[in-house]
């Protein structure tokens, strides 16, 4: 399908996201300094040529910490939407397509899950499971299921009545194939944009959980943890908060624009 890229949101979002993602990927293999190496002589130094983002209260290079911290934030966010997305898609597809008691049952569970703010739900789960990177992923993943399930369910509900679904049934196509080969590709615009929004929420949720001290554990960096740690030094070293915050904002802005752009660009046929 060759179509002109007409959505400014899509183009801008794609560019910002691409830049941020390449920076984060870079952070996995190379950072200017060891993000955990402390230099006692360089506590809370402002941005300079050797440390472009400055240093924190232990003399650690903030640029290096932002890059590696964004890496763990990204991993948690991706894990969250992967887990929430897969289970949400399955639940949404089954309930939307079949309806009936399955729909009633699963959707009531869904409603119960959705009734709590996802961060609160994740907090409870962390309280039960204990803190840690993977446990945050699991907790947020479960908390994010309802949002995906509901969107996917709505789309399946709409599309199951389409003539091409009936005609696939008529040819004798099996139900799983109808669900995932015939219908699923048609909900991609809505789904991808939901995933983009979900990604952003996951980034923010991770940041807030780390901010509360139950996400990524020190000495590992994450954007949220950096923000919470820099709180005390806001007056003396605002760069400690500004750069991780800026990075977080840009990442979310890029993905958010991308998500909206996907709908503008590819969802127009509805």
């Amino acid at each position: 399908m060759k179509r002109k890229l007409t959505s400014h949101n899509f183009i801008l979002g794609a560019v910002i996201t691409a830049i941020m993602l390449s920076l984060i990927l870079l952070g996995f293999v190379w950072t200017p300094y060891d993000p955990e190496a402390m230099q006692g002589s360089l506590k809370l130094h402002g941005p300079s040529l050797t440390h472009p983002f400055g240093t924190d209260q232990f003399g650690r290079d903030i640029l290096s910490r932002v890059l590696s911290g964004a890496g763990s934030t990204l991993l948690i966010a991706l894990g969250t939407i992967l887990l929430g997305g897969i289970i949400g898609i399955l639940a949404g597809a089954l309930t939307g397509y079949f309806g009936g008691w399955l729909d009633e049952g699963l959707m009531r569970v869904n409603d119960a899950l959705a009734a709590f703010p996802s961060v609160l739900l994740a907090l409870v789960m962390i309280a039960l499971l204990g803190p840690g990177t993977y446990k945050v992923m699991l907790a947020l993943g479960i908390a994010f299921i309802p949002s995906f399930a509901r969107i996917v369910r709505g789309e399946f509900l709409r599309l199951r009545e389409m003539d091409y679904v009936t005609s696939a049934k008529l040819i004798g196509v099996s139900t799983p194939r109808i669900l995932f080969v015939h219908i699923l590709p048609n909900i991609l615009p809505a789904l991808l944009s939901a995933l983009a929004i979900g990604f952003n929420n996951a980034v923010l949720a991770e940041a807030s959980m780390s901010y509360l001290g139950i996400g990524v554990q020190p000495p590992d960096a994450s954007l949220g943890r950096m923000l919470s740690e820099s709180q005390t030094y806001l007056a003396g070293g605002p760069w400690c908060a500004v750069f991780p915050g800026l990075f977080l904002v840009l990442l979310i802005l890029g993905v958010g624009l991308l998500g909206e752009g996907i709908l503008d660009q590819f969802g127009g046929g509805r």
Partner: protein, 310 residues
């Protein structure tokens, strides 16, 4: 006897309310024959067709009856057995060509879908056409070849290019042809056409009807043609069944029913065919001119509709 529907009764059950939609309907379609079912909206014609195709709606309940396809009673088959018949022995096309094709699948893939599911399409001919040994699963190339041939059969130009296109790149008439190709690719014995021309303009309508007739003659495929347009039924079908409120009003040879309708309702239906409108008179004029060998403006439009109406 190919398709035989005996005393089919269906009702909708919506909580406590019971609504009979098909009442004791019986008819038969001979091999190679075209039967038209005519009736207004809600007369049960589509419900009958969907039931034959094995797609009883969720809230619809079967009260009784039998549907024989040759010697098999379709209503006694399990879902799995029915799946082997759907698309293979029975094909179906719909009214709305704009929604009947999947927007995210290439044309070729949609035409091939039935081949993917039915192990031995064209089985009755021993798959001579595909050149493959009977009983073996088809290869990708064989499927492609059959799909291309099906596209050719429905008189679409440039099947090779079309194979890779998406539905949105096609016009309504072309989509309807693709639908027919997809329904025909396994060479079903019976094609159910549920108002296949209603959403098309008159010219395209005409050419689709001609195509159906051609396919019917060439492959001896029976057609169950559902329509609310008596005139269309008259041009295509040899027999007609008139339905109203889920009941059979009249059944018989097309010509007989048109010339000598037995029931008041059929007479009303026939009377409801629009009389000569200004448009019709215009086409009459063109026809007369054509007969006399006079030049006429029709071809100046360059449109198919004028030509095929002549």
């Amino acid at each position: 006897m190919m398709l035989k529907v005996e005393n089919l009764s269906i009702h909708f059950e919506d909580r406590s309310e019971k609504e009979e939609v098909v009442k004791n309907v019986s008819f038969a379609v001979e091999a190679g024959d075209i039967l038209g079912i005519v009736g207004e909206s809600g007369s049960g014609k589509t419900m009958t067709a969907l039931t034959i195709a094995g797609l009883l709606k969720k809230h619809a309940v079967l009260d009784g009856g039998r549907i024989w396809l040759d010697d098999t009673d379709l209503l006694t088959l399990s879902e799995k057995e029915m799946r082997r018949i759907q698309g293979n022995e029975i094909g179906m096309i719909f009214q709305e060509p704009m929604t009947a094709l999947n927007p995210t699948m290439r044309i070729g893939k949609q035409v091939e879908e039935a081949l993917l599911l039915h192990d031995r399409p064209w089985g009755r001919e021993g798959r001579k056409d595909s050149g493959a040994a009977a009983g073996k699963k088809m290869t990708k190339a064989e499927r492609r070849q059959l799909a291309l041939r099906a596209l050719e059969e429905v008189e679409l130009e440039n099947p090779g290019e079309l194979y890779r296109k998406y539905p949105y790149e096609l016009s309504g008439g072309m989509r309807q042809r693709v639908m027919i190709a997809a329904a025909m690719v396994c060479r079903p014995k019976l094609l159910i056409a549920d108002e296949p021309t209603t959403a098309l303009d008159v010219g395209t309508q005409e050419s689709i009807l001609n195509l159906l007739k051609k396919l019917n003659r060439k492959y001896g495929m029976s057609i169950l043609f559902i329509s609310h347009n008596l005139r269309v039924v008259n041009t295509l079908c040899s027999r007609v069944l008139v339905m109203k409120d889920g009941q059979t009003v009249e059944e018989g040879e097309c010509r007989e029913i048109f010339e000598n309708p037995q029931s008041e309702y059929t007479r009303e239906l026939i009377a409801a065919i629009p009389a000569r409108t200004r448009e019709n008179r215009y086409y009459d004029l063109l026809r007369r001119k054509k007969k006399a060998g006079e030049p006429f403006a029709g071809k100046d439009f360059g449109s198919q509709s004028c030509k095929c109406l002549l």
